[in-house]
Structures are given as structure tokens and as C-alpha cells.
């Protein structure tokens, strides 16, 4: 188990380093922050001074080493726009984002999993087809379209809810629904197919053959097995708690991490973008680690290969 954890930790670090490196290179190749922040008409001396101040005139590899060195000393850099620490800028936005993504996650799991299970148990019934039609619709409609439709209907036409902003809990309702619907659809489809797969297994038939009532067959035999693949998808959703709301936050003018990211990318505010990406990578990696540990708890076959030292 320790060896397993060590291996996973190593892999996590490699993943994070790759993400950060990729972001570093792409950001620096895709536009000059000096020009964007100082504007193109700024005097050349001012631009040169800006570059020198932020170390942008050094070769890329020097900047890269300096950046990593700073990270290891806990310094994630400062925003080029207002000079504040990037980490402070980002962390003060996290609660706003979680206020959307956590309730949305609850909707995804609370609706998606039961809907998928129900559809699988009533395969080919009218209810199954309706769940699947809704799931395909929820899965295919892009969140900005759904968000705009919800705004049009509930804010503009009916006037029940505000169309944007963050003043009260009522402002969160539309963005949370927009976020939750897509995920619930994905989860419903996935849970359904996982359940169908399990229900076709011989051990389900043998559970029935030994006289287990159908409800108990579903509860004790099918669900624990179907949970194994479903947990993977839920893990992805947990991993996107921090950065999963970029589009929705923009549509609803919600001041979360996602909107900060959009603005920072547009401005080439390098430290802020990198700080967010580092945070996102870490959340993803942690979520994956939790999923891996859950696998072990759910599936004794995996537990065995782990104690044997295999991966």
C-alpha cells in the first residue's frame, strides 16, 4: 500500500510539473504581457522598463528556472496588473466558485446517479427513454447556451430570478442549475451503462437463483459493483470544483476563479494564470488520488494487486 501511495505521489508531482511547464511555455509564446498591459502606444522605454522589472527580457529557460525556484520557496509571483500576490488574488475568489460548484456537484450526484439507476432497472421503458433523451439533451447543450436560455426564461421573461451578480443566494440558483444539468446528464448516462453492464453479469442471476429478492439484488449486488466505474466520473467532477465554472461564471458575471482566469489570460497576467493552473492541477491530482483509494475500498480485486505491489 505504501509503495502504491509513493508511486501515485510521484506520478502526481510529474503531472503537476508538466501542466505548469506547458502553461509557462504557451503563455510566453502567445503574446507579450508588456504590450498588453502597457498598451501598444506606450513609449518603448516604458515597455523596456516593464520587461526588465518583470524579468521578461531574460531567455525563456532563465525565466523558467527562476519561476520553479520561486515556487519551491512558496512564491507564486505577483499580478502584473495590481502587484498583489497571485496566490492571494486566487484564493480570495475560491469561496465564490465553491458556492456554485459544490451545490452543482450535489445536483449532479443527487439527480444523475438515481436517474441512471432507474433507467437501467427499467431498460427500454418509457421512463428509460425519457431519462436518456433528457440526458443526451443535457449533455449536448453547451453550458453557455443553457445559461442564456435560463436567463431569458427565468430572469427576462418571468422575472423570478436575477440574471447575474453575486448579491444573494438567489443569484446562485441559475448558475448552479446550469452547472448541474450537464454533469447530471453525464452521470445519468454513465451510471445507466455501468448498471446495465453489472445487471448482465452471471452473479446477478445467481443472486436471484439463491432467492434474494430483486430489491436486495439491486442494492447489495448490483449497486456496489456499478459504483466502481461511476466513482471515476464523480472523481473528475470533484477535480473540476475549482475551475469547472469558467464559462458559467462568465455568463452570470459571478466573481469566481473562472472569471479571474479569463481576465488574467486575456491580459497575459502570467503569475495569476499559472497560479490558477497549478491549483487546478493539484485539485485534479488530489481528486484522482481519492478515486484510486476509493477503488481499493470498493473493489477487493484491486486491493489484492496493490498489496502484491503491482499497479
Amino acid at each position: 500500500m505504501l509503495r502504491f501511495l509513493g508511486f501515485r505521489l510521484l506520478r502526481a508531482i510529474v503531472t503537476i510539473v508538466l501542466v505548469v511547464t506547458f502553461a509557462f511555455v504557451v503563455l510566453r509564446l502567445s503574446g507579450d504581457p508588456a504590450l498588453l498591459i502597457m498598451s501598444v502606444d506606450a513609449p518603448p522605454e516604458a515597455i523596456a522598463a516593464f520587461r526588465a522589472a518583470w524579468g521578461l527580457d531574460d531567455p525563456l529557460w532563465v525565466q523558467y528556472i527562476r519561476y520553479f525556484n520561486a515556487i519551491f520557496h512558496g512564491d507564486l509571483g505577483r499580478s502584473m496588473r495590481d502587484g498583489r500576490d497571485a496566490i492571494v488574488l486566487v484564493t480570495e475568489r475560491i469561496p465564490a466558485t465553491l458556492a456554485l460548484t459544490l451545490p452543482a456537484l450535489a445536483i449532479k450526484i443527487g439527480i444523475g446517479v438515481p436517474a441512471g439507476v432507474y433507467a437501467a432497472l427499467h431498460r427500454n421503458s418509457l421512463a428509460d427513454r425519457m431519462v436518456m433523451v433528457m440526458a443526451v439533451a443535457g449533455f449536448t447543450i453547451p453550458s453557455f447556451v443553457l445559461g442564456l436560455i435560463l436567463v431569458l426564461v427565468f430572469a427576462v421573461q418571468l422575472g423570478w430570478l436575477p440574471s447575474g451578480g453575486q448579491e444573494s443566494w438567489r443569484h446562485a440558483i441559475l448558475p448552479v442549475i446550469t452547472l448541474g444539468v450537464g454533469g447530471a446528464a453525464v452521470l445519468a448516462r454513465f451510471t445507466r451503462s455501468a448498471m446495465l453492464e453489472v445487471l448482465g453479469q452471471p452473479f446477478i442471476r445467481s443472486a436471484s437463483a439463491k432467492g434474494v429478492p430483486w430489491a436486495a439484488v439491486v442494492r447489495n449486488h448490483a449497486l456496489p459493483n456499478a459504483a466502481i466505474p461511476t466513482v471515476t466520473i464523480i472523481g473528475f467532477m470533484v477535480g473540476s470544483l475549482i475551475a469547472g465554472a469558467v464559462v458559467v461564471e462568465s455568463v452570470f458575471s459571478w466573481p469566481g476563479v473562472g472569471r479571474l482566469l479569463v481576465v488574467a489570460v486575456a491580459n497575459r497576467d502570467l503569475a495569476v494564470v499559472q497560479c490558477i493552473l497549478l491549483l487546478v492541477a493539484m485539485t485534479m491530482v488530489i481528486a484522482n488520488l481519492i478515486v484510486d483509494l476509493l477503488y481499493g475500498a470498493l473493489d477487493p480485486r484491486l486491493r489484492a494487486t496493490r498489496t502484491a505491489g503491482a499497479h
Binding site: 437463483a209 439463491k210 480485486r301
Partner: protein
Amino acid sequence: MRDVPLVSVRDLRVGFDGLPAVRGISLDVGMGEAVGLVGESGCGKSVTWLAALGLLPKSAQVAGSVKLAGEEILGAAPHVLDSVRGGRIAMIFQDPASSLNPVHRVGAQVVESLRLHRGMRGGAARAEAKRLFDLVGIPDAARRLDAYPHELSGGQNQRVMIAIALAGQPELLVADEPTTALDVTIQAQILELLGALRRDLGMALVLISHDLGVVAETCDRVCVMYAGRIVEEAPADALFHAPSHPYARGLLGALPPIDGPRRPLAAIPGSVPDPNAMPPGCAFAPRCAHHIAACDSAVPGLRPMGLDRRAACIRAEAPVRAALVPA
């Protein structure tokens, strides 16, 4: 011969999407009797018993009658079937490894049956599970109770399945190809175990197999199935010494002889008819060496061939003379 049979199947018909898989099976199993069901894969031998126990998907069309000690169980209410399944008729399957739930310990899977059918819980249930593991010959039973199916061999998993089946103290055990997925050496052990348990517990046994040899060793009476029907029913000895139906003769001819000179095995030419295009008369006619025009006019019913055997062939003759007719 027998008063009320333990299980009495009458004109059982099963279809999938309109295609018949079982075309009218009638069969009795007496108390404590061992009956073999033999035939090629797809002939409907497993489907017969899955249908009888209501284990087929809802899309299957099932008709006919299955009585357990005189009571109809075909299409019975779920709670009735739940108490029959595992409690009065237990069933074990071909692939023991995938027939056990991979995420539960094998002991817990035995205890589940004990709880359902005998109301046992806790320490008493565990002690009984251990006794059952001992009974079916699982070594180190107390420790094995906590194993997961993937930690046991195929043979041990099949012993676990048998222990689960015995947990409900059933009157009949239906073993569906119980040794097909196992090594040859393990096959013999499992068959021996099934035979011994039947003798000791007075339980009836239905052994479904495509392997005549397996059935011959274990059963009193054998039904040979072909394309969804029983084509011959006879005491095991009699069938092996003198099969009446040409298909049964063909099956025996495909077995290697235990003694005597080596000879090429006789394969039955052709293949099982497509359910979409069944022959008008006898389903075996297109493959039969003794085929005559009359075979195609009507489906032959089972006719008595002497005292205790029946065959569905218009050309089959009584056993004494059949033995003289070269196959």
C-alpha cells in the same frame, strides 16, 4: 412408479423475440432422483430450468406449467419464487468465478442464503457456513470464509457455489454445466461431491451437461434434448447400452471408447437447425442417416420404447431389437 413427482414440467415453451428456444418439454423429477439433461449447446437445456425458476429476462415468452410438489410455480408471485429459489430448488452455474459477486466475501455470500432461507444470523450463521464449507470439501474452511472469489481457484469457487446452494436445504439442486469451466481433474472431484451430497442429503439432482460421460456417472435417468425438445428419455444404463434415437446414437458415437482399439470418432454431420428455419417434421431429419420421407411430415412425439423409456423417432424400435440394429 412415483406418486406426485417433486417437480413436474408440462409442455414448457420458451421463446426469445418470437423465436422458440424450448418447444414443449415435459419432464418429471422424483424425490431424491438424479436426472441428466444432455444435448448440444443451444438445445434449450439450461433455458428450461431458468424458465422454470423465473430467472429469464422479462422479454422471454414462457408458457406451459411447472409444478413443485403439485403447486404451480411458473409465473408465481415474486415472494413465492424467492422462497422456492435457493430454498426448495437451488441452482448452480457453469462459470463459478463470475457467478459469485466479486465485491463480497464468499462467507458472506453463504450467510446471505442462510439468512434468507433459515433466518440464521451472526455467529450461528457463520458457524453453519463453516460447516457447509467443510461439507463441500473446502480446506481451511474458517479462513476461506473471509476470502474473496478472486482469491480462490475455479474448483473452490464451484464448491462455494455448492455450499451456497446447500445453505437453503433444497429438495432439488439444478447443476447447469457445473464442471465445464473446470480442469478435468477438478471435474471428477466436483461430480463425486455432487453424487455424495445427493446420497447423504436425499436431495434430487438435475445435471445439465453437453457431456454424456459426466451425466452417465452421476444420473439415474437421462433426457436427451435436441433443438428445444426431448428426443429420448431412458434410464442411464439403458441409454448408454442401446440408444434408440439416432441423435442419441450419434452422441454416443462421438465419445471415444474406453477400451478396444482406437477408432476415429464419428461426428454428427451438419449442424443444429436455425430456429428461423426449422424443418417441417423431425428437427433432426436433415442430419439423420435413417431419414425417410415420412420423417418430414410431422414432428414425432415421444413414444414408449419398452417399460421405462421413450423416444421421439418414428423409426426407433424397442430396445432389445434396437441393440441389434447397427447404428
